[in-house]
């Protein structure tokens, strides 16, 4: 009457085995997580890459992108998201995390990396 069902033992083995495998491999098969919460060391600086889209009406829009983003697909996605864009500029911002002014984060040091347009990419610096 009170016995565990026949499937219980194999189910527990597979379930706990998946928890172990996802952590050890590691695999993130949510909700079977790899539990890599803050596991990698942070450095003293923060690097941010931003795309700034210039629209034909002169307005600019900016959004975060990953490092080493190529020009052509970025221009294509910017046009798909924001309509016809005249160009996209990629900026790299670097901030020293401990650098604070009156309790607030100091402004990052921003440099332009590349300018993307339909004519091609033009590296800066």
């Amino acid at each position: 009457m009170g016995a565990a069902p026949r499937y219980a033992r194999p189910f527990v083995a597979v379930f706990v085995g998946t928890v172990l495998a996802c952590a050890l491999v590691p695999l993130n098969l949510w909700p079977f997580s790899n539990w890599e919460l803050f596991s990698r060391l942070r450095g003293p600086t923060e690097n941010i890459w931003q795309a700034v889209v210039t629209q034909p009406n002169g307005r600019s829009l900016s959004y975060s992108i990953g490092p080493h983003t190529a020009c052509a697909p970025l221009l294509q996605s910017a046009r798909a998201r924001f309509g016809p864009a005249t160009g996209v500029r990629i900026y790299h911002s670097e901030r020293l995390l401990s650098d604070r002014v009156s309790g607030r984060a100091a402004a990052p040091y921003r440099t332009i990396v590349v300018t993307c347009s339909s004519k091609g990419a033009r590296a800066s610096g």
Partner: protein, 290 residues
């Protein structure tokens, strides 16, 4: 291995499993209710399907997400009452998986509700046993058996492993440097708007090393919760404190995770019996000397 199997499949009271069902279902209903899922697809243009969300071609529409949210909340509440468990428990689980999958498919996978979903999956797997006590239809069932123990103890194992692996990955990728370097300070500083507590810790290197050491020690030693029942109060309280501190300092909400740990590790039938005894004292038998 046999000892572990004997421990997992030891007999348990039907009320213990029922406590798990009620607690986890109420927590899921609450978690589904507090998120604005219908606004979510409208604001995110990019859909980066994570794992099972590959089944969807695009982010589920606001209408579908609202429907799933309503079904999920209703199913979880009805399952907490112990009604139609064969339908309500899986429905609540599936709605929870899809709605959490939407959150995880916006470019960043969130750990926070993972333990809740894993433990709820175990209650679903328990089948009819989850509805043998504390239901609208069978409120006083006090049966004891193997069928009530394995979902509860497997949930305990999964939670212990989750905390252990959170520590294990820190040892694996960072080692003791996770404590000895300024890692925690940079984590606290890196927020867009760090609050007073975050800056108070980050501005004091020794304090941040102490917090880092305590967190790593707690996560590494958490499996003791399975072997030393007396340590449960200490370890669970420490884990809750850690999550509350993280929420205050970093603004990261892990309430679903620590609430799941509390629901699974607290022996609710014993707590309830204790409360009942305190509220309605048993009258002394006649003839007993005072």
């Amino acid at each position: 291995m046999h000892r572990a199997e004997r421990w997992i499949f030891a007999p348990e009271n039907a009320r213990r499993l029922a406590g798990l069902r009620i607690g986890l279902c109420l927590l899921l209903a609450y978690r589904l209710a507090v998120h604005d899922y219908d606004a979510f697809p409208a604001h995110h243009l990019r859909f980066v399907p994570h794992f099972y969300m590959d089944a969807f071609e695009r982010m589920p529409s606001p209408d579908l997400s609202t429907l799933l949210q309503a079904i999920g909340i209703a199913a979880a509440l009805v399952a907490a009452l112990g009604l139609a468990l064969r339908i309500t428990l899986p429905a609540a689980l599936v709605c929870g998986l899809i709605l959490n999958g939407m959150l995880n498919s916006a470019g960043r996978v969130m750990v926070r509700d993972a333990l809740l979903m894993l433990c709820l999956a175990l209650v679903v797997a328990a089948g009819r046993a989850a509805g043998d006590a504390w239901t609208v239809r069978a409120p006083r069932q006090t049966e004891v058996g193997e069928r009530y123990g394995w979902p509860v103890r497997t949930a305990m194992v999964v939670i212990a492993l989750a905390y252990f692996f959170a520590g294990f990955q820190k040892w694996r990728y960072s080692g003791f440097a996770w404590v000895t370097t300024d890692n925690l300070r940079w984590i606290l500083y890196a927020q867009p708007h760090p609050n007073g507590l975050a800056l108070f810790i980050a501005d004091r290197p020794l304090l941040s090393h102490l917090f880092a050491a305590c967190a790593l020690l707690l996560e590494t030693c958490f499996p003791l919760v399975l072997f030393v029942p007396r340590l449960r109060w200490l370890l669970i309280t420490a884990a809750v404190s850690m999550h509350v501190a993280i929420q205050i300092a970093l603004g990261l909400d892990y309430s679903a995770q620590w609430m799941t740990a509390v629901i699974v590790f607290v022996n609710w039938p014993i707590v309830l019996d204790w409360v009942r005894r305190r509220v309605t004292p048993v009258p002394a038998p006649q003839g007993t000397p005072h």
